[in-house]
Each structure stands twice: as structure tokens, then as C-alpha cells.
Symmetry: none
């Protein structure tokens, strides 16, 4: 165990040894083991966007084993997916890669301004499938977010009691936010804070833009001149908003970018801003296996500081 | 046990021996035993459409024993029905034909754009009635689908723990879909994916048309030129969307077709596209027993490849 | 035990001996014992319509003992009522008349187009009160019927496990049905089918009129020329719709008819159409005791075939 | 309902209507219906003494249906047996004869001075099998009788809450009683009292001899000159000891007597001493069916006072 | 389904359709399918006697797959074993051979005169492992048999409610029985009766010798001249003692016999005496696979009446 991992574990002292053990497994896995940085492969887009939109660009991805194998091959820290995808490879890949079971999902055959999603798996499933943790998406800003927060409350309580990590996807949405506002800095920071306050061990947010959504927040950002010009600064602010960096915050890459350099630049900002890593889905599995391997290789080198 | 059955069972490694045993029973039953193909007789139309619309064309079908006997006589793989119909013959036909208890049902005395149905039986009922599995209908695309997904989550978890198969009818509906969209290819593929991600062992969808419903999907289908001219190609795409063929997908025949050849052509497309079989209700029990037997005989020969 | 009772019991083979015992008790009680026909006295109108509307025509009926005694005096098969009425005489009349505890009720101080009612007693109550079964009203056609069906599912499962009969009142209602449609033939037959599919042992529906409500159904009734001119034919169709006569269907008399001959004509139609009997509330207890006794005497003679 | 039955029911006012209903059923069954007297056929000797000792004298008795049919044919009040025998005919004879499920049994492959027996069925079984009550044997006088009393406490509490009768066989045994003492008058009366105090609805004891076992008791019997010369007097004393006749006490016939007159004389004593009837096992089923029918016919006439 | 299987199922009318379905599976499996006869391979000797005593004679038997495969190869009706052995092949052989999970076991590292054994698996295990039933050994005649009977009571109640068969090994033992007495005719018949009364669906006893153990029984056997000279006659008596043949009784072969003809002679006696088959452990798996196959082939021919 490295000092960095020791330090990170020290932030979670109220958790039981089971949770800490799974946190250790996550942080000591793959090529980033011991660095305190992590890359997670999430594949819930089949449920969220539909299969063709997700897997047609690289048809190998229709097969659930493909993603397990990609996470193993690339030396990532974990693989996260809904029940069906996890079940479809849990035995074949048992132990080879830490898994995070996404406990709720939302499909877009009905598209809401204020989405709710549905809980589609349970903590009990995560135990029987050997996962290190469970994942859950909240939509701060939506009208019925209390349904989500309360469902998450039960999940987090149960997960912690059985030693599982709680990973929260915090995605601002809803009828009172502008589309741009969903990735505004004030909103992203707020979303990170909410997830931490709900008891998340690991929070995943989108990389924030240099915009501000809420008037009440804007006044403060301007009054105190919170640095937000560069992505690095904005990452730093979000990390600060997650209990001053005492909770793990990772950032998502969003839709596939044809130019991999855009992904790398984001990774540099995450690294330099004190972020803990990336959660890279479409940008990897919608590329060919070789391209994805190269992309992950570069990301890992960036996070390890082996390249600038 | 044939190699094909062995291969199919290998896709469900995360399931316990109880589930695999019931899967084996289903796949080794009747005239298609061992082929990996299956035909299931579903009779829930009395509940879904009303008795006269369902049984007047062949009044023998008012009697619940008729359907049990038809499934036995024709050498099918299973019989699926709501609680009342299953109870009405479970003792008399115990062991003679695997049964699937439909756990939810929807009637059309009130017709909703966004139907919900109701859970009308339980996993406990399925055990006491000797069923090999439970069935559940989801309506992806409907406003409150989360209610269905969450009810199904509990059912699937419980069913798997006691060794029962989970068969999911995935029928897109809802106020954001056009009528045509309910059988569009993108929507059908999406519906299959959702059912698989929810943990279904067997997914039943409608045969898809060569239309595309969602704009975001259309772009992808066109960009990647996903073949969809023939029904065979469309079946293949749906099967691919069900974990690259690692989950059993069967197709429903829909309303009674006067020309049996239409049914046979669909069966050929299912077979040639890699589908796992049919669920044939009205097209069989609304014909006379003799005609139904002949229809099933032809379907079985098609699935076995004995006829072109 | 008569051959007819033996035959009826044979339709319920999936039920345990406790259920069969209570079915036997119901069928072997009173003056119709052994005939396979039954008359049940239901008195839930105090809850459903209010006391004055129910009991003012014959003020003796305010007293719960009156109805118990009437059922005993007339040699009926059972007495059905809500918790309060059953409790008020259960000890005094213990064993003298089989009782059915109505587990849900609906009052009309608030009158809905899509009524839900409320569960007002439990299976546990039925056991402690010595009932042979429980009753439950569903309103097929109402918007939230899933609430009813799911409540009934739990009740039926529990009732069967402890050997109690499940008697379902199936009353079509709701905002998509016309007033006439509530007693249309297609709707009545559909309502009977739904109750049977939900697992009811005994179904109670209203006598159907010679009208058809749903367009999709009308086509079928006309195409197959389902006989429906006479009440006898319509009864026969409803009985057929209840699993081809393999579930007990009884018919309600509705509001009090001044001319008892109208009641007798209905009874003749029930008898000749293969119905299993009547559930006669207001037409009896809103008459004087003497008139009610005479009415029941005639009905019993009709059902026994002693008079034409 | 007769006045006598009404009077008997009045002694059990603390019981719920369910218990009273089953008591009514028991008292209104068969040829003794309404008299307040009862004859029960108990067949647990297969378990207690072994099959050959029980059934070899009349080999028809190996078949569990034989005893059901005998109880029906003879017009008895009830049939009592262990789980296996009740299950083996519960459906075929459902409703035809009230049944009492013996919840504990003792075999004699190991013969103890202080027997305990074992609970071999449950109140839940009694409900699913449609029984009117449960039976339980206590052995007052044995070292570990507290185990029995406490097991019975739970059973009685549960049985009463679901409306079942509690019938207690009270058989004094144990290392501090002489063999003769097991049927001594003081001991028999004491055994009846204990069963009543434990909450039994119906108590079954052996007919007492004119002996006294316990010194402390003997002094009292002699001081107060309690009449005990005749069997009638001894029956009267036992009945008095059962809450002054406010609990039903019935008497067992014991081993088969070749001379049926001995059985009849006992019945006369039971009748004249105010006993409530007999529980006649070996004396009936070890005779031929014809002889058993004649024996029961005579007993019934004696209990009804039709013969002296 | 054959008439004989239909007849056997008719004896279990109080059971739910789930139990009947598993009974059908057992009776319709293997080379004896439909005959009403069965051969079960039990392998609990590793637990009961230790591994070397059990498997050294044919070392292939140390491997749990060996026994599964042997049961499949020989066309037997079922394979019965403790938790570990069942788990070790439940997935590999799922569906190929009905399995019975032995829920209690007894080892002989401590050897008691009055053995108790221990419950080592549960009904829940049987469901997850896809078994058709559960097995349990009682030791009638032992001092603390009540512990066994009461444990079995709970198991049987739960097993039946979820549709599993209850198979009871009834082995008389204990400090009041002589060694010879354990297989005396009176004791064997008593043991069969007890198991049936406890609610067993299938009873397994040892083949009885022509001795009588209990004095009280001897008098009856002699008085009624119960035929017992031949093994066939003794089998007939045991079958009669199992509810006059209305419960399935099978017989164990005991320790390995070098001369297979001894096994065949026993099978003839079982067949001719109306027994339902054999449970053959050591006599098969302690032989080589080839010899075991030949032995089973002969047994099957004897039970089918193909050879004398």
C-alpha cells in the first residue's frame, strides 16, 4: 500500500473495514494501482441510449464479455454496468476486474425533462455477483429528486452495512435548469456536494464549463473571484466542493470525441486540478479495441504523470 | 443433452443450478428438444383482450384444459398463462408440460396510452404450481415504466433465488411513441436490450418492421448501414441487441393471420436470423385443434430445418 | 355428497383440502344443499349506499342480527357482509350459516367515476370470525384497477393458504365505460374472465343486458353470431367466459324490484343458462321478512327445478 | 341449533367466533348432532403402537381411507389422526367429516417411563387441511411435562387465534405414578383439571378406576366421601373436575374389548355420569366394518337415550 | 403419462401441483419411466462412514461427478446426496438427473447407540440447486427421536409449500433395540408407518428379516399369522404398513454384496411384494463402472418384468 492510498482511506474512517477493503481493492487494481488515480469503464449506454446508438460504432460491444475483457486488458480499476451486463460475465471474469453494479437506470424511449429512472438491481445482487460496490445516478435539479435521494438513502445504508462501496453519478437535470446549466460550474460543484452529503464514497460528475447558472451563485463566484477560466481550475473547484478533496471525485468524458487529444486534454486538467480520474465509456468502447487500448494507455500515462 | 443446449446454458453461468435445471427442462421438452429452438403457447388474451375476442373463433378455448392439452399434443416447449388458467389445470397436467406463470396482466376495459398492468400473481404461486418460470410484461416507453421495472426487479431477484426462469415480454408503448414506432426496428432492439439488462433469461419481443422511430437512432442506423431490408436481417439485429445472441430472444406472432403461410414465413425469418423461436398464441388457439396441430407441425419442421 | 358437488369440487384441484372443505360447506348448506346452486345474502349496502337508503324500506334491517337470521330462516347458502356486520352477529350465529367477510368496501360520500374502495378487513379477521371465505370487489375498467388487482392478489394468496374461499365481486366501472356499458354483455363476460384469471373461486357479476360496449368486441360477437337475444343466452355466455363453466359464477339482482316476478324471471334465466345461483340483497332485506321468505322460497324452488 | 348446543357454546364465551363455529360444526355433525354428546374416531395407533398391532385384526384399516369412511358411515362427530393419515384422505373426504389433526405423537420403539412424544404437525397444517381443530397429548406426571405444557401453550394460543378447536388428550404417566395410578380416580380428575387449565376446549381422559394414587388426595376423597363406587359416579367426579362440567370431557375406550357389552356399559356410565361422549378407536377399527357399524349404532342409541 | 403413474399421483391429492410435478419428474425419468418403479442412487456414505470405507473399493467414486454420471448413464430415476456432493455437480449435470438433497447426515467419528445426526442443508438449498426433493433420515427407536421428528416436521411443511418432494429414510436404531431388531419385520413395518404419518411422500426402509423384535408385536403377528417366511411376503407387509400401498416405499440394499445375484434376488422380492423400487448405493458405486452398469441393467430388467 502506498502513502497516497493510505491517505485516501483515512478520509473514510467512519466506514467499516469491509468498505475500506473494497476501496483498497479499487485503488490497488490495474496499472494505476497505488497512485490514488482511477479509470473506470462504464457501460450502461445500452440501457440509457439503446443498443445501436451504443454499440453499432464497434459491434464487438454488443457482447457483454467485450467490456469485461477491455477493462482487464487495459489495466483499468473497475468496470461498471447494469444487472444484465454484469450477470453475463460475472462468473467468467470473477476476480479479474472489480465490478460496480449500476443499481438504477433510465431509458430514453420516453424522454422526460425531469427524469427519474428506475431501480433495476439491488445490493443483494451486488453481493451475489461479487461486486466491490454499487452505482446509482441522481438527477439533482429534477422535480422528484426526493424519490431518488430516498431510494439512494436506503441503498447506501444497506451497501455500507455489507461493506460495499457507494458510487454516485450526480447529473444535474430538470425543468428549472437550462441545457447549458447542466454543466455550469456552480451546478456541477453543487451536484458533487449533494452526492457527498448523501454519503457517496465516490462521486462522478461531468466536466464543468465556464458558465454559471444560478443568479444567487453567480454573485458569490464573482464576489470572491473563484478561479474558473481553465478546466483545471474548474476541476479544482469541484474537488474542493467535494469536502475539500476528502471524497473521491471522478469525471466523465461524455459522448465520443473523434479527436482523442480532446480526451487527453481533459485528463490533464483532471490530473492537474486534483481530480481522481475518469470514467470513460463511449470514448473507449465505440473505438476499435486497438484504438481503445491506445487511448487508455495514454490516459494512464497522463494520470501517472509519465507524460505531460 | 445436445451441444447446442450446453452452449446456451453456458451463457447463464451467473445463475444457480436451479435456474439452469429449469432452463434445461424448457430446452429439452417436446419436439424441439435439444435444438435450442422453442415454441411457447401463451394464453393471456382472455385477460388482455377479453374472452369473446380471444376464444369465440374456437370456442373450445374457453376451457383452460384445452390449452394445456394443445401444448402437450403439439409437443411444444411450454405453456404460459395468468394465475387462473394455470391453476385450473396445474394438477391435471402436472409435469406434462413446463408452465410459465404470467405474473402481471393488463386488461383493456380501460385503455391507456401509457399502460401499467398489475401484478396478479407471485413467485410463491409459481413454486406451489410447479412452474419452470415466471413471466412479466414491461412496456418500455411508457411514462411510469419505472413502476414496472422496479416490480420486475423484485420478482427477478426472488425468482432466481428459488431457481425459476424469468421470462420478460418487452412491448414498447407509450405516449411518446407512434403506433408504428411500437414495432420499429430501433425500438424493438432497444426493448430487447432493456429486458436483458433487467436480468431476463428469455426475452419476448414483437417482430420488427423496417421503420425507425427515434431520430437519434436513425442517424446511427443510417451511418453504419445496419442491414434491415429483410425480416431475417431485422431478427438478426434484435438478437444481436440481446447481448450479441447470448440471451434467448423469441418472437410473437401477434394477431391471428388467416394465411398460415405468413406465420411460416415469419418462422423462417426467425430461424435464419438466429432467433430462438416463437411464442404463438392467437395464431394457434383461434384455429381449430386440427389446424393448430398442423400449424405447429409446420413451424417445428421449419425450426428444425426439416423444411425450407 | 352429491355427484354435482363432487363435479364442482373437481374443478378446483389445485386448491388445498381447506379450501375444498369450505367449498363443500357452502354447497351443502341450506335448502339448495347438494344441487350445485346457491343463494347468498349480501348486506354491504349500509357501507356502499348509506343506512337509510339501505334499511329504511324495512327498518328491521338496521339490526345486524336481522340479516343473519334471514339467511338462516330462508335456508340460504351464505351471508356476506363487511367487518362490522359480521362481527355484530358472529358469535350469536356461529356455525348456523356460512359467512363471507367482505374485505373491501366503497362508500359514496365521495363518489368517483373511477372508484377504488378500501380494504377494510383481513384474512386474519375471517379466520377469527369463523368465515368460510372472503369477498373482494374489483372494478375492472377503472383507471387505477391495478391497485385493486394487486391488493386482491395478496388476499387470494393468503386466503388459499389458510383454506378460505375467495369470492370476487367483479363490477365494471370507470371513466371509459358508458353507464350502459357497465352491464353490457361483452363487458360482463370480460369482468367474469378477469376475476377467474385472478384466481377467484366464486365470481359474482351483474346480469348482462343485450348491448355491446367495446367496438373491438362487437365485431367478434357479430362475426361469430354469439347468441345474446335472451337473458338465458347471455347468462350462458358469461358462464362460458368463466373458464367454460369450470368456475362458479353467480349473479346479482341489483336494486329492489317491486315486482318479484322480475326477480323470478332472472332466476329462471340463471338456471337455464347454467349459472350457479344468485346473490340477492336489496330485493330481500328491503322487503318485509315474510315477503323475503316467500321470495327466497320461490327462488329456491326455481333453482331446484321444482317449478318452471 | 338445539338448546343443549347453545348451552355448551355458552361455556366458551371467551373464545372467538371461529372457535365457536368449529365447535358448532362438531356438535351438529352426524347422528348425535344437537345432543351435546359426541363420538370421535381416533386413529393414531399406527404411530403409537405400530401398524400390525393396530391394523392386523382388521386389515382394511391399513388404508387411511377406511377410517374416514367409517367415521362418515357411522355418523360420528369427527375423525382424529396424525398428519399422514389426515393428508391421505383430506381431499377425497373434504367436508364430509370434521377432522382433528393430532399435532404430537409418540412411538413405542423406544419406551420411556416418562414419555415426551414429538410435535409432528402444526396449526398451519390444520388450516390447509381443513380441520376443525387440533389435538395434543400431554402426559401429566412425567418428569419433563413442562416441555409438553409449553409446547401446547404455543399451539393453543395459535389455534384459538385462527378459530381452531384445541382438543387435549390428558394421559397421566411417569416414574412417580404406579401403573394402576395412571387410571386412578384422583389422577384422572387431576389430569382433566390440568388440561382445562391449559385452555383445552375438549378434554379426553381414560375412564377412571376406583383406586386412589396419591396420599394427599386420598385423605380428601375419604374425608369428603366423594362417591366413587360406580363408574357413573367416577365419570361424574371427572366431569365435575373439568370446571364443574363447563368443559367438554370425553372418555377413551382403551384396548379392544372382545365383548362389546363392556363398551356399552362404559357408554352408559359416561352418559349417566354427565360425560360428553367417547373417543373410540381400537374398539371400532379392529372390528370388521359391519361389527363396527353395529357397535357405533348401539353407542349412539345409548348416548341419545334411545336404549337404556 | 402411464396409467400407473396417474394412479400413484392420485394418492397424493392433498399436495400442491408443485409436489405432483416433481413426483411426475421422478417417475417419468430414466429407463423405468412410467412403470411406477424407481431406482435411486444415494451417496451419503462419505459422510456417514468416511471416504476410504466408501470409495476405496472403486476410487473413481471420490469424485462427485462420478456418481452424477453413473446415475445418468444407468438411466436411474434420481441421485441423492448431502450438500457438498450435490453442489459439486449441480451445474454440470443440471437437468440431466433429478436430485434429492439429503438435509441431515450423521458421521461415525462419534458413534452413538442413539444417534441424532445433524441438519446440514436446507429446503432453500434444494431450490437453488434445482433438486426435485429433499431427503431426511429419522432413527425411530432412539431416545431423542423427537428432535428428529420435530426438525423433519418443519422441513416437510416448508418443502411441500414450495413444491418439493419429501423423502424419508426411516432407520430404526437405539438402545432399546437389539442389532437384529433394527431389521426385524415388526420394526421395519413400524418404521415405514412412522415416516408415512410424518407426511413423507417416499419412504426408504431396509429390507426386513424374518425376525420379530417387540413382544407386543410378536403376539399379533402370530395370532393373525401374518405371512413372513419369504422376503416377498415381508416386503408386502411393509408396503401394506405404508398406508396399504398408498405411499411409495423403496428398499435399500445395504452393504456391498460380492454376489450380485443376492442383489437381484432382493429386487425380485421387492417387485413381487409390491415394493416401488430400490435405493442402491454401495452395491453400485463400490463396483467398477462397468460392473455397476451391468448390475443396474439387470435390476431395471427385473423391475420391468423383462426377466424373471
Amino acid at each position: 500500500m502506498t502513502d497516497r492510498v493510505k491517505e485516501i482511506l483515512s478520509w473514510y474512517k467512519s466506514e467499516n473495514a469491509g468498505v475500506l477493503t473494497n476501496m483498497y481493492r479499487l485503488l490497488m487494481q490495474g496499472r494505476l494501482a497505488g497512485t490514488g488515480k482511477m479509470i473506470i469503464l462504464p457501460v450502461d449506454q445500452g440501457f440509457e441510449h439503446g443498443p445501436a446508438r451504443s454499440f453499432a460504432p464497434n459491434a464487438a460491444g454488443y457482447n457483454p464479455h467485450y467490456h469485461y475483457q477491455l477493462a482487464v486488458d487495459a489495466g483499468l480499476n473497475a468496470y461498471a454496468a447494469p444487472l444484465g451486463f454484469i450477470e453475463a460475465g460475472a462468473v467468467e471474469f470473477a476476480g479479474q476486474i472489480p465490478t460496480i453494479l449500476k443499481l438504477n437506470n433510465h431509458d430514453t424511449l420516453f424522454d422526460e425533462t425531469d427524469p427519474l429512472g428506475a431501480q433495476t438491481a439491488t445490493v443483494e445482487d451486488a453481493l451475489r455477483l461479487g461486486c466491490v460496490g454499487v452505482g446509482y445516478t441522481i438527477y439533482p435539479g429534477t422535480m422528484d429528486r426526493r424519490v431518488l435521494y430516498e431510494q439512494l438513502r436506503e441503498i447506501i445504508l444497506e451497501a455500507k452495512s455489507v461493506g460495499l462501496l457507494a458510487v454516485v453519478w450526480s447529473y444535474p437535470r430538470g425543468s428549472q435548469l437550462s441545457k447549458a446549466g447542466e454543466t455550469s460550474l456552480d451546478v456541477a460543484a453543487y451536484a458533487a456536494q449533494i452526492a457527498c452529503q448523501l454519503g457517496a464514497h465516490i462521486v462522478k460528475v461531468k466536466l464543468p464549463d465556464n458558465t454559471l447558472e444560478q443568479d444567487a451563485a453567480r454573485k458569490v463566484y464573482e464576489k470572491y473571484a473563484i478561479p474558473r477560466e481553465t478546466l483545471t481550475e474548474r476541476v479544482r473547484h469541484v474537488v474542493q466542493s467535494a469536502f475539500d478533496g476528502r471524497r473521491i471525485v471522478i469525471f466523465s468524458g461524455g459522448a465520443k470525441k473523434d479527436d482523442a487529444n480532446a480526451v487527453f486534454n481533459e485528463a490533464r486538467a483532471i490530473r492537474d486540478g486534483g481530480g481522481f480520474g475518469s470514467i470513460i465509456g463511449r470514448n473507449s468502447f465505440q473505438r476499435s479495441h486497438a484504438e481503445a487500448m491506445e487511448l487508455f494507455d495514454n490516459l494512464i500515462k497522463i494520470f501517472k504523470g509519465e507524460v505531460q
